[in-house]
């Protein structure tokens, strides 16, 4: 079992976390959003092989945060609360 670092609770079992998609996938907030733009926001993913900044929920505390992990080696480079570093 792997431990993931929740910025609020510290290292916890991987089983407590839920993957929430690519970091930086910002919800369109223009007045007119085209179907393609919506589809891109809702469904299209980078799905990187290697280091991949992604959004996760720690289901135990309910907080969302950014986790930088390598999808090939499963190593974790770090995590931060979404309020840090200019997230919207």
């Amino acid at each position: 079992m792997q431990l993931f670092p929740c910025p609020f609770c510290g290292p916890r079992s991987e089983a407590e976390f839920h993957f929430g998609g690519d970091a930086g996938n910002v919800r369109p907030d223009e007045d007119e959003v085209s179907a393609d733009r919506w589809s891109s926001y809702l469904y299209m993913r980078h799905n990187q092989k290697g280091m991949s900044p992604s959004i996760w929920m720690h289901m135990t505390c309910g907080e969302l945060f950014q986790l930088d992990r390598d999808t090939l080696t499963h190593s974790v480079a770090g995590s931060k609360a979404l309020t840090e570093g200019g997230h919207r």
């Binding site: 079992m1 792997q2 976390f17 993957f19 469904y43 299209m44 993913r45």
Partner: protein, 417 residues
């Protein structure tokens, strides 16, 4: 030289000290140019090459595989074949596949060991039983053989199941598809490879496709570890690595790659003669012809490109298995592995020309594309040969993600494999 497999050729080769058998396929160096290149030597890629030659007469074809053919998910899956889906579009697709499977051994002159032993999806409560009735009805309306079984009928089929009062997952009934079953995974890859090779298709192993050659915004070949190879059209069937290929071609896909695990026990005498799935535990099991219990569970819900599974998910699958079949506690596990599967939000595949003209894709089969190999190959071959959709593949195009016409099998049939 013995090429055709038959009882007579086995007998003759026995007299000949087995010296006349030929290699099942050649290992040629790539030519400079092909009519069609198929990237990925899994079942879908090999079947595509075979049907290009057989259905469309296009024989100047190469399959380019990074490792060895069938070394991806095709050689790692738990070999369940069935067509008991919920939506008519899916049933058209998967039933085409099952029908092709039913005559594949003789068509390919290669024994794929199809065993239509039936598959039971269990219902563990009254509400689940109602959902089971709904899905059996949907299947019957779609023309697929499905029957609702009572608890007693299940008991007859699964004498080793835990029917005691204390059972954590009591059985209220089940849906059975009797035409479902298993087939030998390697044989499907090898059978298609051998038959495609006979038509003149070049199967090139140990050759990685690294990029696409583009000319005027059109795909006209691939850059590989063995150099550049030109083609009029390129098809991609690389499962969990589809997003990498898309990135090279300049677009994104609605795909996330996850590890899916399976394991087998030591071989034992025949004890289970159907495939059993418990949607509640997420566990499914069948007994291989060698006697091993082949066990699978749900996805590792952590995006991954590493072909190894994580322990909590394996524990959940095994815990579910032992609740269902307490006597399996005595079994020792022999092997555990995982494959990287390409999961799409609606759990349905993608078959289409991509945003890069000349480049076509077959992906998104996720946890359940072994059963779809004959259909996936037929349909990608049709797209590559004609540039147009077959009626059966049209609903599975990329445009469904902007039109909203998703085919949500995860919600519809609630089954992942």
């Amino acid at each position: 030289m013995t090429r055709h497999y038959s009882a007579l050729s086995v007998f003759k080769e026995g007299l000949n000290s087995q010296k006349g058998w030929q290699k099942a396929w050649r290992s040629p160096e790539p030519k400079k140019r092909y009519d069609v290149i198929v990237v990925g030597g899994g079942g879908h890629g090999l079947a595509t090459a075979y049907y290009l030659a057989k259905n469309h007469g296009i024989r100047n074809v190469a399959v380019i595989e990074r490792g060895w053919i069938g070394g991806g998910n095709t050689g790692r899956n738990t070999t369940v074949v069935r067509s008991n889906y919920f939506f008519p579009q899916s049933v058209a697709l998967y039933d085409l596949s099952l029908k092709l499977f039913e005559k594949l051994s003789s068509e390919l002159n290669y024994n794929i060991m199809l065993s239509q032993r039936g598959m039971l999806s269990l219902a563990h409560s009254m509400p689940e039983m109602e959902m089971a009735a709904r899905s059996a009805n949907a299947m019957q309306i779609n023309g697929v053989d499905a029957e609702l079984l009572s608890r007693d009928q299940v008991r007859e089929l699964l004498p080793l199941y835990n029917f005691s009062k204390e059972s954590r997952y009591p059985v209220h009934g089940a849906v059975i598809q009797r035409r479902a079953g298993t087939a030998r995974h390697d044989a499907v890859a090898w059978g298609y490879a051998r038959a495609a090779d006979r038509f003149g298709v070049d199967i090139i192993q140990n050759c990685e496709v690294q990029d696409f050659i583009q000319n005027g915004g059109i795909c006209c070949g691939v850059r590989t570890t063995k150099g550049e190879i030109l083609a009029d059209r390129v098809g991609v069937a690389v499962a969990g690595h589809s997003s990498q290929m898309a990135e090279r071609a300049g677009f994104r896909l609605p795909v996330v790659s996850y590890a899916l695990q399976a394991c087998v026990s030591e071989p034992v005498k025949p004890a289970l003669d159907t495939v059993v799935l418990s949607p509640a535990t997420g566990t499914y099991v069948s007994q291989s012809d060698k006697g091993e219990m082949v066990v699978g569970g749900g996805l590792d819900r952590i995006p991954s490109y590493s072909q190894r599974g994580n322990l909590p998910v394996l524990e959940t699958a095994i815990a579910g298995l032992l609740e269902m079949f307490p006597s399996f506690r005595q079994l020792k596990l022999m092997r555990q592995w995982s494959g990287i599967v390409d999961v799409v939000p609606d759990s349905s595949p993608i078959l289409d020309e991509t945003p890069l003209p000349g480049l076509f894709i077959n992906c998104g089969w996720g946890t359940g594309g072994f059963k779809a190999i004959p259909a996936g190959g037929t349909l990608l071959a049709h797209l590559l040969a004609t540039g147009r959709h077959h009626d059966i593949s049209r609903p599975f195009g990329l445009d469904r993600f902007s039109s909203g016409r998703l085919i949500d099998e995860a919600a519809g049939s609630g089954i992942t494999h």
